[in-house]
Structures are given as C-alpha cells and as structure tokens.
C-alpha cells in the first residue's frame, strides 16, 4: 500500500472532519483550514516527486487485485493535476481568510472547501470508472453547497441552474457506466483499455460509448454547446469560491476527457478526435466572443474559462505527444493565470467597490501595484512572451503545424488576439480611464485582511512569470507526462501487473 496515493484524499477528508468538530470555534476552523491545505499541498508535491522519480504509482485498495478491486493510480498527468489541486487549495484557503464573511465561516465553509478538494483529488487519482463517478459526486455535492452557501438570491438562482445541469450530467454518467460495464464486463480503466484494444468488442458500440462519455464530461468541462450553465452560475458566489471553481472544476471534466480519450477510446481516432477538434475550435470561438460582449468582470472571466477549455481540448484532439504536452502545460498555466485574475478582480472589488467595468476606472493612478498584479496574469492568459501562456500556446501551435492542421492553428491564434482584446478592455476600463463618478470610499482593510488577499494573488502572478521564464523543466515534465498518455502500455502494465499487455 503506497501511502502517498491515499494521503491526497485522506488529508482533505480529515481536515473537513476536524473543521466540522470545531463547529463552534471559528478561529480554530480557520487554523485547521490553513494547516490542512498546506499539508495537502506538501503531500501532492511529494507524490509528484515520487512519480517523476519512480514512474507510475499504483495502490490496490483493500489489496484486491486489479481489475476486481478499486485501483488508485498516479501517472505523471494525475500527479501534476493533484499538485495543482494542492496549490489552488492552499491559495484559496489563504484568500478565504480575508474575504469570506463570518456567517459563511460558521456555517461550515472550510469543511466544504476541503470536501471539494477531496473529491477533486480522488477524481484525479482513481483508476476505476465507477469510482470516478463517486468522486465526481463528492466534488459536486460540495460545490453545490459552496455555491448556494450564504443564500443570496442571485446565488440561489445560479445554484439552481448549476445543480440541475450537473444532475442531468450525473444521470448520463451513471447510464454510460452501466452500459460500459455490460459491453466490456469491467470498469477498471486499464482493463477497459486492454479489452477495447483487443478488438473483441464491436467498434460501433465503443464509439457510441465514447460519445456518451463525451457528452457527460463535456457538460462538466463546459464544452461547446454544453457551456451555458457556466456563465449563468460561476459569478454568483463569493470570489474565492469562483476562483477555486474556475481553477479546478471544469478542469476535472477536461482531465476525465483526456483520460478516456487517450487510454480507452482510441479505437477510431479518425472519427472521435476529429469531432473533438471541431468542438475545440467552436468552444474557443464562442467562449471568447461571449467574453468580448461582457461588461462585468466576473462574467467576462467566466466566458474566458470556456474559451481556454477549447485550447485544452485542442491538444487532445491533435493527439500527438507534443500536443498532449501542450495540453498539460496549458492546464498548469490556465489554472494559475485564470484563478489569479479572479483573485485580482476580488481585490478590485474590495478597493473600488464594484465588478462592473462602467463603474470602475482610474485604478492605475490610485493603485499602481494592483494594476501590475492584474497586468501580469492577463498578459499570461493572452499569451504574451515571456509569460506562461506564451509557451503553452506555442507548444500547441507547433503541434498543430507539425501535423499540418492549419485550420485549428489559425482559429487558436485568432482567439488569442480576441483574448488580448478583452484583457485590454478590462485594462482600459478598470485601470486606465478616468473615474466618471466618485463613489463611497471602500471599507478600510485590516493589515491581516490585506495580507491574506494580497499574498495569494501575488504568489499566483509570480508563478505565471516563473513558469514563463523557467519553462524548460516544466515542459520536460509535460513531455514525459504526455509520453505516458500517448503510449498507455506502461499505465496498463503498472495497474494489471506484468504479462497483461
């Protein structure tokens, strides 16, 4: 039993339980929250180090041999995603200290936050389709409550839409899992990969299953045309929650898509991955066009989440080693840059009292530091060198040119320009133009609040610079992870043991 694989799930669970036990003591809950999140991040880093040193790590829960029991697997891609979960968990845990009001805190905010982290880590680590469904549900129920917690009218309306669409997706997931089991007779992902590639299963049926999973995960990942719930709900809860959701939840959907479309459904790449390519292009374009039309910062950024999902899918659809590395690099970049932008928009709200572009202005003059803090991740998102987004997009574009798929390359570059345009729109409206009307001065921040708001935002912005400047080691890591995804025989061998392939 490899403890490193279990701890990223166990630590958030224990943190949530202890936070619940400290129900009446808000201060204690805050301390448990930070301690738990730090420990989670440390363990995730340990897992990443162990996987990159010793290769794919596998644990059979209860010592039931695969494919009969539940398997936890960490290949490099999983380990990178768990590390990002730990990073975002810690960042948001600190940011929450200064932004989440006392009422939400005493109604179990921190317990829910860590339950969400547990669900996300579990989804990244499991090697079993039904277990993946269970982790999705753990993650969803925590996110439902986090979205509705506080009970503002807007939040409840957003939660209503979010809950409904996600329950439909869960019902579809369950249906797909049931049919998958009846067709293949197994739910272990490695065993599924082996049986599908053995050719004993009707490829037509496999394609139908692939499409069912595409719709299921497509709803969670907010792909075109299944994304309407995202801009209708993501901007409603407090900004710390929005930042966490934008960083992790849709990415779990993308992770699941990458996992099934590199490991299991690779029997008819000409059809499935061409379809993914079309969806990727449309997702990028509709997302960014939606963003261009928005005047509210959180809604604008929500539409950008959709557009960035298109880039992640583009790498999967190109389906070469370099392209998959691009997807992984882009994933790391977009989780950091997008969450940083949400955190900064929260800061803007604290300083200037609004999220609406028309009501803001003049922040560059009054608060140059904040303007810089916005500028860095915004330019990273648009893909300006030497920041992280540039290398991510460069890798994807190079992969596209290598297999001469010029259409998607052209689309991705055009969408990049539109991204830059909408980032400059925020820049011009919020930071540059003169403020038309003077509104009430903002509530002064206590020094503690100041730090808990600033440190996470500065830390994420600094990471986008660091990843941009020191892209080489991270790209190498992404290449190794992509090699494992592109040739799943090592994964299958690690799970099922020696002579399985």
């Amino acid at each position: 039993m490899n403890l490193l694989l279990v701890l990223p799930i166990l630590i958030p669970f224990l943190t949530a339980v202890t936070a619940l036990l400290a129900w009446h003591n808000r201060l204690l809950q805050r301390r448990i929250n930070v301690a738990g999140a730090s420990l989670h991040f440390a363990v995730a880093l340990g897992l990443l180090a162990s996987v990159s040193r010793d290769g794919i790590q596998v644990t059979q829960i209860g010592n039931w041999p695969a494919p009969f029991g539940i398997t936890l697997v960490a290949d490099l891609f999983s380990a990178i995603m768990v590390t990002m979960t730990g990073l975002m968990g810690l960042t948001v845990a600190v940011y929450s200290l200064g932004t989440i009001d006392a009422r939400r805190e005493s109604f179990g905010y921190y317990a829910l936050l860590h339950t969400l982290l547990m669900g996300v880590s579990g989804a990244f680590l499991t090697g079993d389709m039904f277990n993946l469904y269970v982790w999705f549900e753990v993650m969803l129920i925590a996110s439902f409550v986090l979205m509705a917690l506080g009970g503002a009218k807007e939040q409840l309306e957003g939660a209503l839409k979010y809950v409904t669409i996600n329950l439909v997706s869960s019902a579809l997931f369950l249906t797909s899992v049931g049919v998958l089991y009846s067709v293949t007779g197994t739910l272990n992902m490695a065993d599924l990969a082996r049986r599908v590639s053995s050719g004993t299963i009707d490829p037509g049926l496999t394609t139908v299953l692939a499409m069912m999973f595409l719709v299921t995960f497509g709803i969670k990942a907010a792909l075109f045309p299944l994304f309407f719930w995202l801009p209708a709900s993501y901007h409603t809860p407090p900004i710390a929650i929005t930042a966490l959701f934008s960083g992790l939840l849709t990415k779990v959907g993308v992770y699941a898509l990458v996992r099934v479309f590199t490991l299991i459904f690779v029997h008819d790449v000409a059809f499935t991955h061409s379809l993914l390519m079309v969806i990727a292009g449309l997702t990028m374009v509709t997302g960014v066009l939606g963003a261009v039309a928005q005047m509210e910062m959180r809604r604008l950024l929500s539409f950008h989440i959709i557009s960035q999902i298109g880039y992640l899918l583009m790498g999967l659809a190109l389906f070469t080693e370099l392209a998959l590395a691009g997807t992984i690099f882009f994933m790391v970049h977009v989780i950091i840059a997008k969450s940083a932008l949400f955190l900064v928009s929260g800061l803007v709200r604290r300083v200037a009292g609004s999220y609406h572009l028309k009501e803001l202005g003049g922040l560059y003059r009054s608060n140059t530091g904040l303007a810089t803090l916005f500028f860095v991740p915004a330019m990273a998102l648009a893909g300006i060198p030497p920041l992280s987004g540039f290398w991510a997009k460069l890798t994807l574009v190079r992969a596209g040119l290598e297999i001469e798929d010029y259409a998607i390359v052209a689309v991705s570059l055009a969408v990049s320009i539109l991204t830059l345009f909408s980032m400059t729109k925020i820049w011009a409206e919020v930071f540059w133009k003169d403020r038309s009307e003077s509104s009430d001065p903002p509530k002064p921040l206590s020094p503690f609040q100041r730090h808990s708001l600033l440190i996470p935002a500065v830390w994420l912005a600094a990471l986008t610079v660091l990843i941009g400047v020191g892209a080489e080691p991270i790209l190498d890591l992404a290449m190794d992870a992509a090699a494992q995804l592109h040739d799943p025989s090592a994964y299958i061998r690690a799970v099922l043991g020696g002579g399985a392939v």
Binding site: I141, F144, A148, T175
Partner: protein
C-alpha cells in the same frame, strides 16, 4: 422480463426528460428523480436479468456455475441510489430556499444571473421589475 423492463426504462427516461423541460421547478425535481431511477434500472437490466441463480461458488470449484446473477451491477445501483437520495434531498431544500427568495417557481422568471443590475438599483427592485 427484459422486454418489459426495457419499456419501463424507456418510459422513465421519457417522463424524466419531459418533466425536466417544464417551467415549474417542482416538476424539474421530479424529472431529476425519474432520470436517476431510469439510470439505476438500466444498469440492472442491461447487465442481464438472471433469476434464482446467486453467484455462489460450490465447494471445490473456482467460479460459480453459469449462468449466475452478476452482483456488481447491484452494488453499483446501491451506491447510485444512496448518492441519488442525498443529492435529491439537497435539491429539494435548495429549490425551496430559491422559492422563498424569488417567490416564483417559474424557471423563465429566474433571470437575475443573466444580466447585470443597472448601477444604483438595489437587487430587490430590479428583481421585482424583471419578475
């Protein structure tokens, strides 16, 4: 038996989807419940309905004699029912709270997340105007 169950499952999915398309969200909750029942029954049926053949391994044998009822789909359904029950309980409470906050159960009237409020207009006023 499978044919009857297949028709029942089809009817459940159809009814669930129909209810989900209604404007009242009380009906949407019912639709969600029907969908999850349909999914559970589908798992049960699609994996083969075997009567009176428990998967017991006789002494000395390595596997139960064919045909036997596969216990795994039933375990899946059990898990799904438990999860579905919890989620539906939450949904009912959420919808009740939403009803208290918006005083309508018409989904078409719930649009305050779609537009930004006009500057200076409190949420309650702009909500009332739109409702």
């Amino acid at each position: 038996m499978e044919v009857v169950l297949a028709v029942v499952i089809g009817a459940l999915y159809a009814a669930g989807l129909y209810m989900m398309l209604r404007r009242s969200y009380v009906k949407v909750v019912i639709g969600l419940a029907l969908l999850s029942y349909a999914a559970s029954l589908l798992i049960f049926t699609v994996n083969g309905v075997t009567r009176g053949r428990p998967p017991l391994v006789p002494e000395g044998a390595l596997r139960p004699p064919e045909p036997f009822a596969d216990p795994l789909p039933q375990a899946l359904i059990l898990t799904a029912i438990v999860i579905g029950f919890g989620v539906q309980a939450f949904t009912v409470v959420l919808f009740k709270r939403t009803y208290q906050a918006t005083e309508t159960d018409d989904l078409d009237a719930i649009r305050s997340t779609e537009h930004h409020k006009k500057p200076g207009v409190p949420a309650s006023i702009s909500g009332a105007r739109e409702g």
